[in-house]
Symmetry: C2
């Protein structure tokens, strides 16, 4: 790719970003768009709809940038919880890393590369006709002493990233403990989920659970709540809900209220009466079904609550039964976080579904390579001309070819990638996780590895799956193959950062899809305030994206330092935009208290090791074998560092230590409100579908249990 193609891509995306910013500044002030751009404030009631018109509404203003900038971490913590703080720290962490690497990369490595003289003579007159390769390490002559600068940079950056990683892990770990200390007593702290409950004939699951825990945890056991299979019930309740909404709609519309319809045989039917009768029927059905379900369809799983957090932790940590596949205990999620559908209980079934999901992920990866390979064809214009000869005249126009090679490939890739997070979330959901947070965490991992594999490796080795697998099966030659292939794709990834990074972040601000949905829906539904839900951020979509850009930055910083300024711009954009979105748009759906950080840490370590492997290959290729040998200790040290961090910090992210739990429990002992809390705790894990419903009597119960039943 030429510099001119890159500049075209930068130009287009810069234009798009500015456009999005201006549109956002205007559109967010329109009351009709409040649901799209400030749903959180609307839900809090802090922003009322103003119907009066003024000119100010049509002038773009950058005030929101300042507001987003001024938010402190403590504000974020109290408003959106620790997960959001961790998310923002991923961005600031990357910013720190790439500021440091950019200083080294731009001021030391880039001049060395540019004056390397391997590729062609330098002509400062017409920079734009250069291939981007003159800025990469490919331009340094083999065996050049200047390569030691790259070698030092690899060591320096690894050390810097490791020190930052250590501090960050420590900081988040302390935050997590502090968050726990400052939190009020919450049901999930006192509760565990028991699965694979063995049931003797003639007794129910509830009785078994009750007997077991009163026997073995007599001093701390409080109560149990057996899980029921409520899929059918849930769909019935949904029907009732829809019908109820239609009735409310009819009632509120004076024109339609007395509307009647001519029946099939000519008699007049009052729609209102008909609907109400139907609703009553459904409610009757729901009640019948509820009593049936509570009698029969018990799942062999139960939420068991304890009097103390420590009691629950002991039950969680100890193997209960001599058969470890029975009485399997895990920490309970927050009640609102529970994922009621697909509630599988048997050990074997969950194990098998996990295996099936793994196979499905592999299949998905293979199928996904097809579009990736096609996209890669685009960057190679001459091949495109061979495939589609009739395009030849069209493609010779400079601007068109710039767009096609510089912009189109990453745009297509981007669109295809949009569908991956929902697919991965679905796969995780059938894997047997019990809460949304676990599902998203697992999906986050899946999306991350999928992205690394399908974008990074597939682009680099741009070949068939079999070719990629054959490379992995030949680990000895991985560095040399990487060394050849990775620098060759530098220009593609620079363009990818600009297209995917900049534009996707700007469109995150602009919220295109919710905006369109809102525009389409608006004519059909008026005044349906109660219908809209405050969205939550899909961590499994955004964290892998940032991590992938970090991987690109770390692996390419010494190969093609030109990527760094673009990455920094991306990170700055992300910093401002996501802070803005957390204030205005996203409300937290659950709180894992920072459990996403280990994923970030692992990804960073992987990036470092990958970078080092490439360095080994590059130095061998450039005939500086001493340097490539000297990289090996760095790989070992990085892996040892990771192992140390795993031992030092990871346990705190799985469960809280005894010390902390006991301190918290002692504080509660003197608290008089605990009695009240215990009363709530007993029913906290009631399946929302099992709660009594009543719509038909009065219209006021809409915001009651039903909202939670849609979770």
């Amino acid at each position: 790719m030429l510099v001119s193609a890159l500049l075209t891509s930068v130009g287009i995306n810069f234009g798009l970003c500015v456009l999005f910013f201006i549109l956002y500044s205007i559109l967010r002030k329109q009351p009709s768009n409040y649901e799209v751009y400030i749903p959180r404030l609307v839900a809090d009631g802090s922003s009322k709809r103003r119907s009066h018109f003024n000119l100010e509404r049509l002038i773009p203003s950058p005030g929101w940038v300042k507001r987003a900038w001024n938010v402190t971490e403590d504000d974020l913590l109290s408003a959106s919880g620790l997960d959001v703080v961790v998310f923002m720290r991923v961005i600031t962490f990357s910013l720190k890393v790439f500021l440091f690497t950019a200083i080294i990369g731009i001021f030391v490595l880039l001049p060395i590369n540019f004056t390397g003289g391997e590729l062609s003579e330098i002509d400062l007159e017409d920079l734009s006709s250069y291939s981007l390769d003159v800025f990469t390490i490919s331009n340094v002559k083999s065996g050049s002493k200047w390569l030691w600068a790259h070698f030092c940079a690899v060591y320096l950056v690894t050390a810097f990233v490791c020190i930052l990683l250590y501090n960050e892990y420590k900081y988040i770990c302390l935050k997590r403990i502090a968050y726990f200390h400052s939190s009020k007593p919450q049901p999930h702290q006192f509760t565990v989920l028991v699965r694979s409950v063995p049931v003797s004939s003639g007794s129910s699951v509830g009785e078994s659970v009750e007997r077991f825990f009163t026997e073995y945890h007599p001093s701390t056991y409080l109560s149990q709540m057996v899980v029921h299979r409520t899929n059918k019930l849930r769909s019935l309740i949904n029907d009732a809900k829809k019908l109820y909404k239609r009735i409310i709609h009819l009632q509120s519309d004076p024109n339609k209220q007395k509307n009647t319809r001519i029946g099939l045989f000519g008699q007049k039917v009052d729609l209102m009466d008909q609907f109400e009768k139907k609703l009553e029927d459904i409610e009757e059905n729901v009640r019948l079904e509820q009593s049936e379900v509570s009698m029969a369809e018990e799942v062999r799983a139960a939420f068991v609550s304890f009097k103390t957090r420590y009691g629950a932790a002991i039950a969680f940590h100890m193997q209960q039964s001599t058969n470890p596949t029975q009485w399997v205990i895990e920490q309970a999620p927050e009640p609102k976080d529970v994922y009621w559908p697909f509630f599988s209980s048997s050990f074997m079934r969950r194990w098998i579904s996990k295996l099936v999901v793994i196979v499905a992920c592999i299949l998905l990866t293979i199928l996904f390579l097809i579009p990736v390979v096609l996209v890669q064809g685009l960057t190679n214009l001459s091949q495109l001309e061979i495939w589609f000869p009739f395009l030849k005249s069209f493609l010779t126009i400079t601007f068109v070819s710039s767009v096609v090679t510089g912009y189109l490939p990453s745009l297509i890739l981007l669109l295809f990638l949009k569908i991956v997070p929902p697919i991965m979330e679905f796969l995780s959901s059938i894997q047997g996780y019990i809460c949304h947070s676990d599902i998203e965490k697992s999906a986050c991992n899946k999306v991350l590895w999928f992205t690394i594999w399908n974008i990074f490796f597939a682009t680099v080795f741009s070949g068939s799956v079999l070719y990629q697998v054959s490379i992995l099966l030949d680990p000895k030659n991985i560095p040399s193959k990487l060394a050849v292939a990775v620098p060759a794709q530098a220009s593609f990834f620079v363009a990818y950062v600009v297209t995917s990074g900049w534009t996707s972040t700007a469109s995150e601000l602009f919220r295109i899809i919710p905006l369109f949905c809102s525009l389409i829906r608006r004519p059909f539904s008026k005044d349906t305030d109660d219908d809209f839900e405050v969205p939550s951020i899909p961590f499994h979509r955004d964290i892998p994206r940032i991590l992938f850009f970090a991987l690109l930055g770390i692996t390419y910083f010494f190969l093609a330092p030109l990527i760094l300024p673009f990455l920094l711009i991306y990170l700055c954009l992300a910093y401002v935009i996501f802070r803005n979105q957390f204030i205005n748009v996203y409300a937290p759906r659950y709180e894992t208290a920072g459990k996403f950080w280990p994923i970030v840490h692992n990804s960073m370590i992987f990036s470092l090791v990958l970078m080092q492997a490439i360095a080994v290959g590059i130095f061998t290729l450039k005939k500086l074998s001493v340097a490539s040998t000297l990289i090996f200790p760095l790989v070992v040290l990085t892996l040892l560092f990771n192992e140390y961090c795993r031992k030092r910090f990871l346990p705190n992210f799985i469960a809280y230590p005894a010390e902390v739990l006991i301190k918290r429990d002692r504080e509660d002992q003197n608290d008089r409100t605990m009695g009240e809390f215990y009363d709530k705790l007993v029913t906290a894990y009631q399946d929302p579908a099992m709660l009594p419903i009543h719509f038909s009597d009065n219209g006021e119960s809409l915001n009651s249990p039903l909202i939670s039943s849609t979770v």
Copy 2:
């Protein structure tokens, strides 16, 4: 190797075995050898030395075989503990497996191989001049339909072994629980070892531990015992012990008792007085040192005892502190099992020493290849003649060449292998384990993998380390390389089973080294009954050997079924001989209650997967690619089976479940002797070097604390 060479090897070893058996039958009846052959009975006092001579003592008798045969598993359990039962079950398990495979191998596969006709025409006249290869799969023609018999055999044997493995794991798991239920209260059940105790300035380790556990485990905490660094003290006590023995020796010998010596300046010195004075000095030193050590040289580790087993288990399972590298808790070993030297406490130091040991193991493996490669040269006579031309005339003698190719290589290998278990034990001991059982368990693993790598792979690929590593780095081609190399070494391994297996087991019975030691020591020390210790079986020497033979059997059963009868003979020998040794010779030094079984299980699974990998390669080589594809599901199923077993059984081998612990604790609540037990528990983990000593006053305290201080 020709059949004649194999027959020579079998002949020699059969002769040796018979010789050992006869010698054993005679020697064990000589009272002077009681310490070598029935030390256990002597120590129990059930076998007194008879000094009167009778002729019966010189006639070999097979009575001991019958006695060994008649011992039941319960007898073994009560006499030697669960570890020995597990050890015997490894042998019976292998016997079952190889009886089954022998039926398939000898009656189905061997005839198919022999009539395969690939190698040469069959001449039934002179079987002994055949190469052993006619009995291997190499003799089956490529693409032959008969190969499906081998394919079915692979499936059948895998299924059979997996079913057996499952049942065995389950059986031993139940035995382990039953053993725990039937055991008396023992100190290690109530105790944990805490390491990396953080100490605030101005307080001792003991105070820190006391404060922490009274704070966080107030209801169950009983006592603590801080560990001291006593290496210097131990050597002082050993000096005292030696001196004391000399005094006892002088006292008991009436001739020497009044012996005096002429001093340097002519004055007469009473030796007895001199020694006693010296002993008093040392004792004084020991007392001084003890008080010093107890004041100063505290290790940041302590044994912490609890009032209940469940209390100790909770402390073990829960992470105590927010920093997981502090207050590191592990289960305490039995008091007699504690390994007091090298008592490292810091988290970092243990971690680093572990890494150092790993590197040392790798170095050892590389150095060890040198003798292995030399040995392999011997099997190739023509190469030997090139190396040592002067041996040419000597090597042409048929018998000599048979011995050299058939017997010598495995004998040399055997001698080299003798030194591996002690080296591995030493490496494990500096790795930071706190008890002999853990050290031996770790050494067992090390020896096993060392054997598999250095005997199996080094023989098969008989090349340099770099060549072997390069094969591992090219995993795609492992099956095809194995398929070429493994059948070629069939004859070597058949000979290896005969030499190493038969003879080493027979020499285990004969106990050559202890016998020689006893013969050499006898003239110097008379009547030193109290000096001898009942030996314990080195599991890390014998378990890997049996497992390696099982690996050979499983991998070669379909390649060269001829190995199976020899293996069965070996296993029968081992069965009788080890039972005999457990009754007469070995006393248990510790009790892990079957924790060695997971090693056995993993090794068997590895053998199965290795066999399947070879099968894939063989079927590809023999142009039966459908079969080689159809083996893949079997590999996946085997690995899944292993994963299931890990989840189903392994947790019970790490710690006992809550259910079992609580039941046991409740039984104790009504036991009146518990008060007494708690009193003992408080001092159970006192370092023997810290106990008061007094030799000089009276001579009767020899069997007191000193014996344990040599542990």
